[in-house]
């Protein structure tokens, strides 16, 4: 597991990935590696707890978009919670929120799936 992935767990059939650090190329690749692996295992629902990620760049966002594209192929879904305002704003500007959902808490995220 990369340093960026702090933990992964499964709850109600949803894979919850907790991140820490810069969501850039490296961070994005670390997320996509887990998501792609879990897709092959049959998981299609993913939540990312971004409490430990205070900064994101457009490459990280573009990797998330690639992940969304991949999940759309398997009727999967990805969502995020505990976003720092700047991260939420970047997701919004980069169009990410059109295709995925930002939740304000883990509970709402799980219920929302």
């Amino acid at each position: 597991m990369s340093d960026f992935i702090k933990s992964t767990k499964e709850s109600n059939g949803i894979i919850i990935i907790e991140t820490e650090g810069y969501l850039n190329n490296v961070g994005g690749e670390a997320i996509s590696a887990i998501v792609y692996e879990k897709i092959t295992s049959g998981n299609t629902k993913f939540l990312i707890n971004m409490a430990g990620t205070k900064i994101v760049n457009s490459i990280g966002v573009s990797i998330l978009i690639e992940i969304i594209e991949k999940l759309q192929e398997v009727n999967g879904k990805i969502g995020y919670y505990n976003l720092a305002p700047i991260v939420a704003k970047t997701f919004n500007i980069m169009g990410l929120t059109k295709y995925s959902t930002v939740y304000d808490s883990e509970e709402n995220a799980i219920n929302g799936f």
């Binding site: 810069y22 490459i59 978009i65 594209e69 759309q72 704003k89």
Partner: protein, 712 residues
């Protein structure tokens, strides 16, 4: 579908603009430089897709930068590197002041990070480089790539905003630092300082000031100075004047009365001005003099002002310990004081010694002597220790001479006051001594010890009354100075010395009888001792007689020197009223003879004075020209315009002891005036006419009594 998700340039530019806007808004909200720098770096990395970054920031007062923030960089590889403004890539940025795209290779310190590409932008304070922002390795889905020109522009824009925020924080930090510094300085200084604003309210005060005015800070801050200093109208006037006239005012030794505590201060009030030189309040500085005064007044009882100031400036002088040095030592001793004191009450002994020591110590300090000890009636004085000068011995001898000279005056006063004169002998020696603060830590005394000190004491014992005896060592030091004269005496054998010691007597000017001093002392004695209920024989009458004596003597062409004797007799002619009014002339002669003898007044002149005093006895019986003059002066008023006033005063005085009617008084006056005649030609000429007019008036009044027409 995938085309829909492509991140196009527009989105990226939008993100960049939003980020820049956010930074602009946010940066000013930071109040710590470290947090600000971290935020700048992280957001710059994010918006420009940099994989990592550094901010190097200036060190105060040097050309070296240090790491102010880092993001995703292993900074351990940079440990020990010196980021010099004047070298390499930083120097280039320092010169161009523009963002720079670089490829990291070769021996650039940045290549130690393992990154390939760099984007560097300057952080500027006006034109000075205060830091640099470095972003590493632009990320893309194809891997790492160099930064673009548009990235450089973006980073420049961010860096410009960041510089403003950085400089603002620095400014605030500097202001806070300056305030803290000022506060610390204000609190630590012993001078009391407070400031007032335009409204006259006290807005700052330091600890020393609260101590001086005896109020808590909370009781002062926010209150008008007139309220705080309501019992000190003068302070309020000073501050008010400073406010109105915008001038600095300083006053010394002002007594402050603050809440039951009185303190003497030196005070200075200055206007506070803003950058435009407009008044914004006042600053008041108060120097508490109470401790210094106490210290100085205590010290000054023992040492001269010079030594006090030296001690206050150099505390090391207070350390125990000694040093060998040359010094001049003076001893003086009152001759026969034990016998004299046996005739006095204890209070008189103390009063006499205090009067004597006050006079002597003033002279000692005048010549920078250090009063080492008062041993009974003896004084020990040091010259040249702790600090030596070229004039130490000269000063010691000048002190001795002035002591003897001033004692003559002092004794004249004592004699006139019927007190026994004080006679002193003085001995002075110069030589090696051990000087220092000798004693215990609880009680130490600055003194000198050694053989030379003992010899000075022995010389004092050798000196007779009025004499100043010095050793050969002293004379060698001063003999070239023509003001000193000495007489070689036979060598003396002193205790502790095997061989006789060569000694000299310093000769000094012993002034002849000082008439003016005698007049003033006698006048003072008369003022203090003449019976208070007398209305005619008062100090005014005696002053009048002295005045008339001089005038008549001049008219009679008497020599100036002899006029002095006439005046002395005039001052003394009624002094006997103090003790025996009925035989005051005889009692006055006894007193005059005693004091004039004691004052070494020529004996032939003493009988002249005595004769003049006795001649004034009614009926007057002058036997020579001088006696005629004083007799005419004593009754000069008989032919003057102010006759009635004198006559009334005399009547009032006579009525103290016996009843007398106005008619009787007129008859007494008539009888007296008929019997009286002036003796000197000038008085006859000047006063007889008016005297006869006065006599006629009195006789007319007597007639009116006899005719029963008098109204009184």
């Amino acid at each position: 579908m995938s085309a829909e998700f492509n991140i196009n340039d527009l989105q990226q530019k939008y993100l960049e603009l939003e980020t820049l806007l956010d930074l602009t808004n946010e940066l000013n909200s930071f109040d710590q430089i470290s947090i600000l720098l971290q935020e700048i770096l992280v957001k710059s990395c994010g918006v420009l897709n940099a994989s990592s970054g550094l901010i190097l920031i200036e060190d105060e007062n040097s050309d070296v930068l240090h790491i102010g923030a880092d993001f995703n960089v292993d900074i351990s590889v940079l440990k020990g590197l010196i980021f010099n403004k004047r070298k390499g890539i930083i120097s280039e940025i320092n010169e161009t002041r523009k963002a720079l795209n670089i490829q990291l290779e070769g021996d650039s310190f940045l290549s130690k990070t393992g990154c390939k590409y760099g984007l560097i932008a300057p952080l500027l304070d006006k034109k000075n480089l205060v830091g640099i922002v470095i972003l590493f390795d632009k990320e893309s889905r194809q891997g790492l790539s160099p930064f673009q020109e548009s990235d450089a522009n973006m980073l420049s824009a961010i860096a410009t905003q960041a510089s403003v925020a950085y400089n603002n924080i620095k400014l605030i930090e500097n202001i806070k630092e300056a305030k803290t510094f000022n506060d610390n300085v204000m609190q630590s200084i012993v001078t009391g300082v407070f400031t007032t604003n335009l409204m006259g309210e006290i807005n700052h005060i330091n600890r020393a000031a609260t101590n001086i005015i005896n109020l808590n800070r909370e009781e002062v801050i926010g209150n008008h100075y007139e309220y705080v200093f309501e019992s000190n109208e003068y302070i309020n006037q000073l501050i008010s004047k400073c406010e109105l006239e915008t001038i600095t005012i300083s006053e010394s030794q002002i007594l402050l009365d603050c809440n039951g505590k009185s303190t003497t201060v030196n005070i200075s009030v200055s206007p506070l001005l803003n950058d435009s030189n407009e008044p914004i309040g006042s600053v008041v500085a108060m120097e508490d003099l109470s401790n210094l005064d106490k210290l100085k007044s205590t010290f000054k009882k023992y040492v001269s002002k010079q030594i006090v100031d030296q001690l206050l400036e150099n505390e090391d002088m207070l350390n125990l310990g000694g040093q060998e040095q040359d010094a001049t030592i003076l001893f003086s001793d009152i001759r026969g004081f034990t016998a004299m004191s046996e005739k006095m009450t204890p209070n008189e002994v103390v009063e006499t010694l205090n009067d004597y020591f006050n006079l002597m110590i003033e002279i000692i300090f005048k010549y920078n002597g250090t009063l080492d000890k008062i041993i009974g009636d003896a004084l020990m004085v040091i010259y040249g220790a702790p600090n030596a000068t070229d004039r130490d011995t000269e000063n010691a001898v000048l002190t001795a001479i002035e002591m003897q000279e001033k004692l003559i005056e002092f004794n004249q006063n004592r004699i006139i006051n019927l007190k026994e004169p004080i006679k002193i002998g003085i001995g002075i020696n110069r030589g090696k001594v051990i000087s220092g603060n000798i004693g215990s830590k609880q009680q130490m005394n600055f003194t000198v010890i050694g053989d030379s000190v003992n010899l000075a004491s022995r010389l004092c014992s050798v000196a007779a009354s009025d004499e100043i005896i010095v050793s050969d060592a002293v004379w060698k030091k001063i003999r070239l100075n023509k003001i000193f004269k000495s007489k070689k005496l036979n060598p003396v054998k002193v205790k502790g010395k095997a061989k006789p010691i060569d000694i000299r007597e310093i000769l000094y000017y012993r002034p002849p009888f000082n008439y003016n001093l005698a007049y003033s002392k006698i006048e003072n004695y008369l003022v203090n001792n003449l019976p208070q209920n007398y209305t005619y024989h008062t100090i005014e009458h005696i002053r009048d007689v002295v005045d008339q004596v001089e005038k008549i003597a001049k008219r009679e062409k008497i020599e100036k020197e002899l006029i002095a004797d006439l005046k002395l007799a005039a001052w003394l002619h009624d002094i006997g009223y103090i003790w025996e009014p009925n035989r005051h002339e005889a009692r006055g002669v006894e007193y005059a003879t005693a004091i004039l003898n004691e004052m070494k007044f020529p004996k032939s002149k003493i009988s002249l004075i005595a004769g003049m005093i006795m001649a004034t006895k009614i009926p007057q019986s002058p036997k020579n020209h001088f006696e005629e003059i004083i007799c005419d002066a004593d009754l000069d008023y008989l032919g003057r315009e102010d006759y009635d006033k004198n006559s009334d005063s005399l009547l009032q005085e006579i009525r103290i002891n016996r009843e007398i009617t106005n008619k009787e008084w007129l008859e007494i006056q008539e009888s007296f005036l008929l019997k009286h005649h002036y003796h000197t030609g000038s008085s006859k000429k000047l006063r007889n006419k008016n005297k006869n007019i006065i006599l006629k008036k009195i006789q007319d009044k007597i007639k009116s009594y006899k005719n029963g027409t008098s109204r009184t």
